[in-house]
Symmetry: C2
Subunit: 394 residues, 2 copies
């Protein structure tokens, strides 16, 4: 199939593009490199020294014999986006091209508004381009498990049957997102569902959990294909951040009591889930939701696991409970259904000691690149004038 | 109380500002007059010859002795908006300042994106301004009953208790909006609820039904205070549009089978509901939802009522079923709870023959101003390149 991966230079997009290319699909990447710009804005860097996209793609061609076309495109620019759709004629578009950090969206008004406009308008433009030019194309959209929040009932996959006052209906699962970023994914979900219903588009909304790991089968074929590995407070997510902290002797920064429970998955499962979604498109007019994660952990449990794995490598790992910069429940019920991708054939990579070892090894290998001053949280949900990293303190 | 009415030059905003002023509140209006601009864009005009805001406010001062301050402000301009908040120091902000037409949002990509950015960013800017400058201020936000769509269960006021697999929670009522405009109100609701939870703001989200009528007690004090009366396909809503059609001998344009059922209310109840919300603010951190309508009708029932009332005035009124330009269920269950405003003291003006008579009289009085060519629907939900009125056909 012809697959366009938007945001294909990013942490999930790059390994997804390689995986689909390696599995024989004709892959094109669209990206505007703004994720690399945000590193400069925040004064941070990926732990791993990733190469520019044009080098990575050339290298992939050397090792695999397969070509990935690249397009520099900002989804805010409708005409540029439409031009890419016209040239690629995709059967599926995998859409990662959004600002994906909750703390980034909570820095201040400018970052909140930027995140909402960037994500919502980018997706609207894509919906209009597909309706106009490729109405049969399958939109594979990355959402987040964070759309649901932490309700006191089981979380279903997108929809829930409700019996109320003697009547029944199957309705969208209620959403309680926890940041301006998470809100954009809820807005997108409503917009996409509407377009499927009114225009007959087809879409899979993948409510993804927190991704960990950095290496996939394709990436391991050459060191120059190495993927991002973010550990800073804004773009680093829990498990990856903990591994870096363990490697450099920084206490693991658990926010609040650490009872916050979420769905997690290995990045090798991310790329496989996308492949399964692409290979099994929904009907025209169908909007479907898969919960894309494999296991549930609390933040405290993750810290414990990293502590144990670190000890086995001879690292002394401490856990530090910080005042929670976020506004969230720290002890709560959490049970989310995630069967639809398993039914399509997903065989999960469960979080293992060997995976933790390999993450710790990567962190140790690059420990001289770590900047300790970007680890502690500065972005507080209760404040609207946060001083982000990368801003002069004087 | 000091009340700032944003969108105070519009169909609901103007009578709301007068009503609150007449009841002794210190009222200020913020508006950027873009609603008047859209009339020019579409080549349409309100049936009633409304005067410029500065004249209306001067006239109100003459007849009532009360002053209404006015501010020209676009909510997209954060600093201008913050300046108004700083100067007015409102105890409550009534927020009507959004693009409120579903067909306008469905014209094409540009109008869809404009509507979503205008409404979502305007409300975000207002939330940030309140958090920064007036965190105790009560945000009275106009939503729409259209956020809920037409579920097969009773519609509750914003939240629903769900029992699921042996557990219970009270969760936001699932939303199924029917246009890019209605989607913005859902996005706003999620954003506002989040800000109340995280920042401790207080807000009332008024999910308003379809408003009919044009005159309130305050407006009737002088002909120069006359309110808008829209009848075109883009901004005219069902009942008002039917009355104009009856007055000029145009068949009533019922879309599809006419079984579409919605909540309706008299504009005299709109202004009273706002007053009740303002007088009874929620607690700090509370986000509450009232369903603001008084009666349910199907579109077909409304057409029948106008036909009967017209006949009594000697008008021959025909009903014409047009192919539905919207994508919506035309026969469906509909039962929406609307008790919270009644509990606060609302005494509804039910739809009566005398109200229909007065609307028909106004329409007859201004019949020479009616442009018949802007009545038939041109904006089709299934198309993304609609030719709007006001565009040259050549």
């Amino acid at each position: 199939m012809r697959v366009l991966v938007l945001g294909g230079d990013g942490y999930c997009g790059w390994p997804t593009a390689l995986h689909l290319s390696g599995r024989g699909h004709e892959v094109a990447i669209g990206d505007n490199f703004v994720r690399r710009l945000w590193d400069h804005e925040l004064g941070v860097e990926t732990l791993t020294p990733i190469r520019p996209l044009h080098e990575r793609v050339a290298l992939w061609r050397e090792v695999s014999g397969r070509t990935i076309d690249t397009f520099v495109v900002d989804l805010q620019d409708y005409h540029a986006l439409a031009d890419v759709i016209r040239r690629v004629e995709p059967d599926a578009v995998v859409h990662y091209a959004e600002q994906r950090s909750a703390p980034y969206s909570m820095i201040d008004r400018e970052h909140a508004v930027f995140t909402q406009v960037n994500n919502v308008v980018g997706t609207l433009n894509l919906l209009f381009a597909l309706k106009d030019l490729r109405p049969d194309c399958h939109l594979v959209k990355l959402g987040t498990m964070g759309e649901y929040g932490t309700p006191n009932i089981d979380i279903e996959e997108g929809f829930i049957e409700i019996e109320h006052k003697g009547r029944r209906d199957v309705l969208p699962f209620p959403k309680q997102p926890g940041s301006f970023y998470h809100l954009t994914k809820v807005h997108d979900s409503h917009n996409i569902q509407f377009c499927c219903r009114v225009w007959g588009l087809r879409s899979t909304d993948l409510n993804q959990g927190v991704v960990y790991g950095t290496i996939t089968g394709e990436i391991s074929r050459h060191p120059g294909l190495i993927n991002r590995f973010d550990y800073d407070e804004v773009f680093g997510t829990a498990l990856n951040r903990f591994c870096v902290q363990a490697a450099i002797g920084h206490p693991l920064t658990v926010y609040g009591r650490g009872g916050q429970t979420r769905g997690f998955l290995d990045i090798r499962d991310t790329v496989r889930c996308i492949e399964l979604a692409v290979q099994n498109p929904p009907e025209r007019g169908e909007y479907r939701v898969f919960n894309q994660f494999t296991e549930q952990f609390s933040v405290g449990q993750l810290a414990d696991k990293v502590q144990v794995a670190g000890a086995e490598l001879g690292l002394r790992v401490e856990v530090q409970h910080l005042p929670n910069p976020r506004v969230e429940r720290e002890e709560h019920y959490y049970n989310a259904v995630h069967t639809r991708l398993l039914e399509l054939g997903l065989e999960p990579h469960r979080l293992s000691n060997s995976l933790l070892d390999s993450l710790l090894e990567i962190a140790l290998q690059h420990r001289d690149r770590v900047r300790k001053d970007v680890i502690l949280p500065r972005v507080n949900w209760r404040d609207i004038h946060n001083r982000r990293h990368g801003t002069s303190d004087t």
